[in-house]
Symmetry: C2
Subunit: 352 residues, 2 copies
C-alpha cells in the first residue's frame, strides 16, 4: 500500500518541492489510508485501526486495486455504519474525482466547491494515488488567490508576502513597476492636451471641468472592470458570452452617463444663476458640452472596463491585470478626446 509507507520526512519534502509553485503537488499530504476492494469491512477497520491512528486526515478512506490505482473514495463513517462482514466492494458508489499533482491550486479550489468533500485524492498519470489534498488548506488557497486578485486590482503587482512584513525595497519595486507603466500611459494625456492647446487657450473654462468629466469615465470603467473580473474568476460566465456582457454594459453605461450628465449640467446652470459670470457668457454651451461628454465618456468607460478583461484573458493573461487604475488611465486619454470633440461640435462658433 503506497499510502501506508512512513516515508523519510526529508525525502517527502524534497519530492513535494519538485512540483511547480501554486500546484496541487505542493500542498498535498501523504497522510492518507488506502484499502482494497476485496477486503471485508472488518479487515478494512482492523487495518485502519492499526495504521490510521495518527493520521490527521482520516475522514476519507481510499480504495485502490493491487497496483495502487484509485478505485473510489469512501467516507470513513461508511465503514463505521456498515455491517462488518460486508465486502468493501459493496460500499463503492463510483462517485469520486481526483486531481493531478501538476494541476493549479485554483482548479483544486473549483473541484472542492463542486464536490462536497473534505479531501480529494491526487493521482499520477497512471491514476495511481500519490497523496491527498484537504479542504482546510483550500480555505488558505481561496484567501491567497483573493489577495492576489485584490492587490492586482488595486494597481500593483501581487506582493506574495504579508504587507506588514515585506521589505520596503521589495514593496516599492512591486508597486513602482505598475506605477511607471500607468505614468507612461497617462503621459498620452499631455500629448492629447497639447493637440487641443488652441481650444484650451480660447476657452479656459473647458479646463475647469476636464478632471471632473474624465475621471467619471475612469470611475465607471473601474466599476465595470472589477465586476467583470470577479465574475470571470468565479466562473459566472465564459468568454463567448462577451456579446451579452457588452450589451448589458452599454445599457448600464448609458443610464449612468445620463444620471451624471444631468447632475453636471444642473451644477453649471445653477452656479451660473447664483454666481453670474463664473463660467462666462457661454455657460449654456459649457453645460451642454459637459453633459453630453459625460454620457459619452461614462458609456465608453463602462465598455472599455468590461471588454478589456475579456480581451486580456483571451490573450492568455490574467484579467486582473486590467485593474481600476489601468482602466482609469486608458479612459483618461480617450476621454479627453471625447470631451474636446464634443466641445468642438457644440462650441464651434465660440472656439473659432
Amino acid at each position: 500500500m503506497l499510502g501506508m509507507l512512513t516515508p523519510d520526512e526529508r525525502q517527502v519534502a524534497q519530492s513535494l518541492l519538485a512540483y511547480p509553485d501554486h500546484s496541487v503537488g505542493r500542498m498535498m499530504t501523504l497522510d492518507y489510508v488506502a484499502v482494497r476492494p476485496e477486503w471485508t469491512v472488518r479487515e478494512a477497520l482492523d487495518y485502519i485501526r492499526e495504521h490510521g491512528y495518527d493520521r490527521e486526515t482520516l475522514n476519507m478512506v481510499y480504495v485502490v486495486d493491487e497496483a495502487g490505482h484509485l478505485v473510489d473514495d469512501i467516507r470513513v463513517r461508511r465503514f463505521l455504519l456498515s455491517p462488518v462482514d460486508r465486502p468493501v466492494k459493496a460500499l463503492l458508489d463510483g462517485n469520486y474525482t481526483w486531481l493531478a499533482p501538476t494541476d493549479d491550486r485554483e482548479k483544486a479550489l473549483a473541484l472542492f466547491r463542486k464536490f462536497d468533500r473534505v479531501a480529494l485524492p491526487v493521482v499520477d498519470e497512471n491514476r495511481k494515488i500519490i497523496g491527498i489534498v484537504t479542504v482546510d488548506d483550500m480555505l488558505d488557497v481561496a484567501e491567497e488567490e483573493a489577495t492576489e486578485d485584490i492587490q492586482k486590482l488595486g494597481g500593483s503587482e501581487a506582493l506574495d508576502e504579508p504587507y506588514t512584513t515585506i521589505s520596503l525595497v521589495k514593496m516599492v519595486k512591486k508597486r513602482a513597476s505598475w506605477l511607471v507603466i500607468l505614468f507612461l500611459g497617462e503621459m498620452l494625456t499631455a500629448t492629447a492636451l497639447k493637440y487641443y492647446e488652441g481650444e484650451l487657450a480660447k476657452a479656459i473654462v473647458l479646463s475647469l471641468f476636464l478632471p471632473l468629466v474624465v475621471s467619471s469615465g475612469g470611475n465607471a470603467g473601474s466599476q465595470a472592470s472589477t465586476l467583470v473580473i470577479r465574475a470571470l474568476a468565479l466562473g459566472e460566465f465564459k468568454l463567448r458570452d462577451w456579446w451579452r456582457i457588452m450589451r448589458r454594459e452599454l445599457v448600464a453605461g448609458f443610464s449612468l452617463g445620463i444620471i451624471l450628465g444631468v447632475i453636471g449640467t444642473l451644477r453649471i446652470t445653477i452656479w451660473s444663476f447664483i454666481f453670474p459670470n463664473t463660467y462666462g457668457e457661454h455657460w449654456g454651451l459649457v453645460a451642454a458640452t459637459v453633459g453630453t461628454a459625460l454620457v459619452g465618456i461614462v458609456m465608453w468607460g463602462s465598455l472599455m472596463g468590461s471588454m478589456l478583461p475579456l480581451i486580456i484573458k483571451r490573450c492568455g493573461f490574467d484579467p486582473a491585470t486590467s485593474s481600476a487604475p489601468f482602466i482609469a488611465t486608458l479612459v483618461d486619454v480617450t476621454g479627453l478626446i471625447i470631451y474636446f470633440s464634443v466641445a468642438m461640435v457644440i462650441m464651434r462658433e465660440t472656439l473659432v
Copy 2:
C-alpha cells in the same frame, strides 16, 4: 438528546431564518450527532450506527451532558480507533471551541482558519448545542466575502447577486449611488481650478500636465489603500499599528514619487530638445514644477490611501469603502492644490 431530534423541516427553516443575514445561525445545520460522556465507546458507536447513517456531516461527534451542554467535540474516527469498552469520557481532550448563532460568518471563517476542524458547534447563551457549521460552507463564505470586498474596492456597492443574473435596474442603482458620490466629490476639482483660473490663463502649459500629475497621486493612493484594506481584512495588523504603517507609506511614497518625478522631468526636458518650443521658453520651470509636484502628490496619495481605511474602520465603517476610485477622487482635489502651489512657487516670475 437535542441533536437526535428529527425536526419538522419547515420549522427548522423558519427558526434558521430568524437569525440575522450573514450570521452563523443562518448557515448552521441541525444534522449532527451528540453522545454522552458516561457512555462506553461501544454504546456511542451503536448510537451513531443507529442515528447517524444519513448524516452528511458525521465527521465530528459532540459530547454533551444530560442537559445538552457542550462538553467536547471528538473526531468520529477516534471512536473507530478506540477500544470499544473505554468510556467516552476517556476520549475527551478539552480542545474545542464554539460559535454563537448570532456571530458574524466572518468570525466563523476566522475560527475555522485557526482551528483545524471540518465542523464547529453552535451553542446558545447557556452553552447548549443547537447546531453545527461545516467547513465546506466556509469556502463559499470566504468567496462571498472576497467578492463583496472586491466589488466595493472597484467603487460600487456589493451586488449581492451574480453579475450575470442581477437585473439591469438593480445593478445600475448599486453603481449609480457611488458614481454620483464620486462625481459630487470630483466637482470640487472644478471649484479648485476656478480658483486657479488666473494662473491657468497665464500658463496654459500647466493644464497640459494636470491629468498626468494628479492621476499619478490617485494611482499611488489606490495601491496603498488596496494593500492596507486587504491586510486589515486578513488581520495582519491592528488599528493601533497606524504609526508603523504611516512611516512605511511615507518612505514608499517618497521613493515612488522620486521615480515618477525623474521620469516626468526627463520627459519634458527631452521633448523640449527634440521639439523646441513645445512647452514654451520656460520649459525648465515647467519640468521642475511637474517633477516636484509629483514627489509631493505621490507621497500625499500614499499617505491618504493608507490612513483613510484605518480612519474609516476606526469610525466603525467598512474600510473597503475607501476604494481605489474614492481615494483617487480625494487625491484629485488635493493634488490640484499641491500642483498649483508648487507652480506658484517655482514659476512665480512667469505667472506674475
